[in-house]
Symmetry: C2
Subunit: 378 residues, 2 copies
């Protein structure tokens, strides 16, 4: 397709927090946005055109395609057959359905890493883990279901052959001895031009295995950061991806950088770019899919992002506690997603603290974490 100029229409499959932030951060570019999702989707309020429907429904996806100049998606769990069909009939879509299909299946994703010689944890696959024989395997193993995983779902650590695997088709990875989990946002344009954001450090809450803290820049040496950037670029090139990609990496205790997995969309580890970088991940994605030049990814200040997850036991309309105290922290920027129901560990929002030093940002973010909570009205 030719370059999209304002006021062209961008179709977004999925109106969750990523679709919401995509719109509020790139509306300034002058495009209009059509969104497909359920009626209570957060991005509905900001969409120029809203199509109510399921992301699995071919007819709804076709309706969105008909309403826009170029399509993208904020989530991987879509009807890929329908996307293939629309794409083959000439509807521009970035990243392409082929990229999505490769990434949707964690086995094909890993196979691509191996084929391209990109370092990743050793693994094997089992179509039917319930009946497979693990007696000759080395434990611990990390089981990942091939499809449908999200926010810690679809992942299980097996300590020994006595632990039952999940019954779905899966891959099983050697457990990496992790020093840090890193992430890099990479944008790639239609002609292959690249823009790489700073390397970040992700920390996961052990209780629910959801990333809850992102630190930018990562506290690693420049050699490690360069390896992380290089590997992240390589995988996006290997995918022939166009748009923004979140690349998750392991830094192991021997100092090696390994590929974990790739998200073909804006990513939690890139939220900090809204406050900390010259161009944010959402604007960058829109620039890429519109065929415009990519923006400057310079980090302006160190940043710490914390997810705001629904409190344990919460239900009903969200109730924010400690908001006033939190927004009183200098350099704290809250993002509340406007979800209608609060559920335990659901991503209800996040906040980013920027400061002159990373130490200061960390200290302020940890203070804010203690005061800001989202529960439910019951």
């Amino acid at each position: 397709m030719k370059t999209l100029f304002p006021p062209g229409i961008i179709g977004v499959i999925g109106g969750g927090q990523l679709g919401l932030m995509l719109i509020y951060r790139s509306k300034k570019l002058g495009f209009r946005f059509a969104v497909l999702d359920a009626a209570d989707a957060p991005a509905k309020a900001l969409a120029d055109f809203f199509i109510e429907g399921s992301l699995k429904d071919a007819a709804a996806l076709g309706k969105l395609a008909g309403a826009c100049d170029v399509m993208t998606y904020e989530i991987e769990h879509i009807n890929t057959d329908a996307l293939d069909d629309l794409y083959s009939r000439g509807h521009p879509m970035y990243p392409s359905p082929t990229v999505l299909r490769t990434i949707q299946d964690k086995l094909s994703q890993k196979e691509l890493f191996v084929k391209k010689g990109l370092p990743t944890a050793p693994f094997f696959a089992e179509e039917d883990p319930a009946t497979a024989d693990f007696s000759s395997k080395q434990f611990p193993l990390v089981q990942k279901t091939r499809k449908g995983g999200y926010d810690g779902k679809g992942v299980r650590v097996l300590q020994s052959a006595a632990d039952s695997p999940m019954p779905a088709p899966s891959l099983f990875e050697d457990m990496v001895s992790i020093d840090k989990e890193l992430a890099v946002m990479v944008a790639r344009g239609r002609s292959g031009e690249l823009a790489v954001f700073p390397v970040t450090e992700m920390a996961f809450n052990p209780e629910h295995n959801i990333c809850d803290t992102v630190i930018a820049p990562a506290r690693v040496d420049e050699k490690t950061a360069a390896a992380a950037r290089e590997l992240s670029v390589s995988v996006v090139q290997a995918l022939d991806g166009v748009g923004i990609f979140g690349v998750e990496l392991f830094l192991d205790t021997q100092g090696r950088v390994l590929l974990n997995e790739v998200a073909p969309r804006p990513h939690n580890s890139g939220h900090y770019t809204m406050e900390a970088c010259v161009t944010c991940q959402f604007e960058q994605h829109v620039r890429a899919l519109a065929g415009l030049p990519l923006g400057d990814t310079t980090l302006l200040r160190p940043a710490v992002m914390l997810n705001l997850l629904g409190q344990p036991g919460s239900a009903g309309s969200p109730l924010v506690q400690g908001y006033e105290e939190a927004v009183n922290v200098p350099g704290l920027s809250p993002h509340l997603y406007g979800k209608i129901d609060c559920r335990p560990f659901r991503k209800m929002g996040h906040f980013t603290v920027t400061a002159a030093t990373l130490e200061d940002a960390l200290e302020k973010a940890e203070y804010a974490r203690t005061v800001l909570k989202i529960g439910g009205a019951g």
Copy 2:
């Protein structure tokens, strides 16, 4: 009123570019937005609730009041009597209608400056300039109609008694020998707390008298900047204003800082804060009117903002030229307002360039000015 917590509803009178940017920059705070304006208003696409109507219509204003928790306005030309009535019946509104009334009338604004001892150009008022006797006056004089001025309209320079004044009730100011025009955004919270943004420098296009360039920080010495900040704070305090205020100042050739006029709302001279400051003017305004703590106004990088005005002779749907070249400039952030009609000198958008040095930002902005144009499809 008590502090407004998300998802409380903020009512915005006027859905032009300021309302649009207010929403896309503060949606992250978790509030919902109700907007009153004509059906083609740019902010309509982002409003949670949209009321179609005139800003002069008391019934429409009443409907907006009924649909929100707290009201504000993005423009001064509203039905103030209707606002007074709503306010007296207990509808929270920031800034108050009293502030708006004082500012709407340039004479009462000037009289406040004088009453509070704030330096401003000497002036006199005439109810009927067409019949007034100017023979004893010192020329040149700057005539400003008391009401209704906007973007250079309602201002005329009279070089001698032979020049005809505009016929409306007006004030006439001694023409200041101007070195620079400066502007300062000041936010004031409900308890009187203050947050002051950096002093900026405004340049006006002589062809249409609309500010077309804002430079942050202003290229003035610290003593001048301190005087500008102090005077700006004083006038917002004198008004007892709550919310964000754009204070326009003259730096005269003798180094004195004089008050020109005040806008009780986000202001063109504060657009640069979106890219260049930790908290932007729009988020700051929402924080103030919601009763939340004000944000950090630290300047992260020097910035230059240029308005994108409709080309001379333009009409019809806007056509953007040079967009690709412009967004290819590192650190350039465009804001296109989505207006449906392009008209000569109409504010169709703006862009801000941030860079490591002001010189670099200026150079890049001047380059972008030469390539980026908005005309009409005719």
